[in-house]
């Protein structure tokens, strides 16, 4: 009986200590996130683009499943004319938050801008599925562009064939 009680007490104490250590390492991670978050704000305020991008990347490594941060990073890249990279991060944001219609719509508009109409239609379709009819006009125009592009491609192919 005595042995059992002692074992129980030991188990409780070791469990508590483990929890303390776990929370310590977790607090270190939180501290890092907090520091880099403030550093990011500083670099954004000082318009130090390169350093701000570095901070975004560090923050994304520290908290990988953060769609809001991915989205903010994508927006920042887009504003600084790094569209190719921004699309990658918009896609990641959409993957991390598949139920966010705004992210899907934003991806759609960027893809429309780079004339990836198929991608834009797909993104707007997702946005309409999640967010309802409010993205329908954008989807319609994307579909029109897609149709125009397809028609132009067909016409071009036909012309090529006729030439041959």
């Amino acid at each position: 009986m005595k042995l059992k009680l002692l074992t129980l007490a030991y188990l409780i104490s070791s469990f508590t200590m483990q929890n303390i250590y776990a929370s310590e390492s977790e607090s270190d991670l939180n501290k890092r996130i907090r520091i880099h978050d403030i550093l990011l704000k500083i670099y954004l305020a000082k318009h130090q683009i390169k350093l701000a991008i570095q901070e975004y990347q560090i923050l994304l490594k520290l908290s990988p499943d953060n769609p809001a941060l991915e989205y903010a990073f994508a927006n920042y890249l887009y504003k600084n004319n790094n569209i190719k990279e921004s699309i990658i991060h918009y896609r990641k944001a959409c993957e991390s938050a598949p139920d966010n219609a705004d992210y899907q719509a934003r991806l759609g508009s960027i893809l429309l801008y780079v004339q990836d109409y198929d991608g834009a239609v797909s993104a707007y379709t997702n946005a309409c599925r999640i967010g309802g009819a409010r993205f329908q006009p954008q989807l319609n125009s994307a579909m029109q562009y897609q149709a125009q592009k397809r028609a132009a491609a067909t016409a071009e192919a036909n012309a090529k064939k006729a030439k041959e």
Partner: protein, 355 residues
């Protein structure tokens, strides 16, 4: 029952330690003053209840009385963060670093954030990077405290060794006049006439009468007294007053270690809570460490100051004992209110309140 005891013991070992000083009892506590302990306790209670604004007022009140107690700034810093009062956070962090540099790993992030919000981007950046190095190198305040403690212990050992060595070579002679080799150390009042000269004029006095003693012993003693017997340390007193000496309570049993009650009239409060203008003070003839009376010492009226003379009185704890206020480090807590001393005190008070 025994098992239950063992179980409770283990459970208690795992529980976080609750600080004893959080109580609001009338104990003097870590602050060294009942008044301060009460204010501090009230501030902590309000803080716990989420009344951060009211807690801030109490913390600031406590800091006004004793600006050199780090826990007040820690409490105020937490309240200021809750209220997003970044200038207060910055002020608190600076004072925390001044009073306990080992706490830097705990408050550098808060300081960096405060600087960012205050628009001091460059300073904020460097502080945040320092905070990152603390995490990278796993530097915690506990580790720094241990390092500082180890260093202090080492220094203390060296001082003790020096004292022992000096006593071995030169046996100590009874003395009442601690020497001050450092210019900033003012002279304790132990002579028949209170110190009316410049407080730094020690050399001439040291060459006369019972002041003459072995230099090596003095040096060791003065190193020990270095920090206590200075205006910087005396500034930690709860009350600093400018008071006029009016007289003393005469009785037949006035001895070197049984001083009389001296009556002062407060002219100005330099620091601390307002007291009754009539100030009864225990008129110590020496500092606490020097308990041996000089040879042929006998009390006479000329050992008291001139009635009407002005004095700076340092009262460490504003709680009278046996109807008298005790001065900081006995006779050291009464300094003549000459221009030099007043300028020094005003300067130090300005500096501490500015921070």
């Amino acid at each position: 029952m025994k098992h239950l005891y063992i179980y409770l013991l283990f459970t208690l070992m795992c529980c976080p330690i609750v600080r004893a000083d959080q109580s609001t009892s009338d104990a003097v506590g870590d602050t060294g003053s009942i008044t301060l302990t009460r204010i501090y306790g009230k501030a902590q209670e309000l803080d716990r209840l989420g009344q951060h604004q009211a807690a801030t007022i109490q913390y600031k009140k406590a800091i006004g009385i004793n600006p050199n107690f780090v826990d007040f700034y820690i409490g105020l810093c937490k309240c200021a963060i809750e209220q997003k009062s970044w200038s207060d956070v910055s002020m608190c962090a600076q004072n925390i670093f001044r009073l306990d540099p080992a706490l830097k790993p705990d408050y550098t992030i808060d300081y960096g954030e405060a600087l960012y919000h205050l628009g001091k981007y460059d300073e904020a950046e460097s502080n945040l990077k320092t905070a990152l190095t603390y995490i990278d190198k796993n530097i915690t305040s506990e580790k720094l405290h241990k390092e500082i403690q180890a260093k202090t212990d080492k220094e203390q050992m060296a001082i003790t060794k020096k004292i022992q060595e000096s006593q071995m070579t030169n046996p100590p002679i009874a003395t009442t006049q601690p020497q001050a080799p450092f210019n900033q150390i003012a002279q304790p009042v132990t002579t028949s006439q209170p110190n009316t000269e410049n407080t730094n004029s020690t050399n001439a006095e040291a060459s006369n009468g019972f002041h003459t003693k072995k230099r090596s012993s003095e040096d060791a003693q003065s190193i020990v007294n270095k920090y206590r017997l200075s205006f910087e340390s005396a500034l930690k007193s709860e009350c600093i007053l400018l008071a006029q000496y009016e007289g003393y309570v005469k009785n037949d049993d006035i001895r070197f270690n049984h001083p009389p009650q001296a009556n002062y009239h407060i002219k100005k409060f330099l620091k601390g809570p307002p007291l009754n203008p009539s100030l009864p003070v225990r008129y110590d003839f020496h500092i606490p460490k020097e308990t041996d009376a000089p040879p042929n010492w006998k009390f006479s009226a000329d050992k008291m100051p001139k009635p009407g003379s002005l004095w700076i009185i340092f009262i460490e704890n504003a709680v009278p004992k046996h109807g008298m206020y005790e001065t900081y480090e006995g006779s050291y807590g009464r300094q003549e209110a000459n221009d030099d001393n007043l300028n020094k005190i005003y300067d130090l008070i300005d500096k501490s309140s500015g921070q």
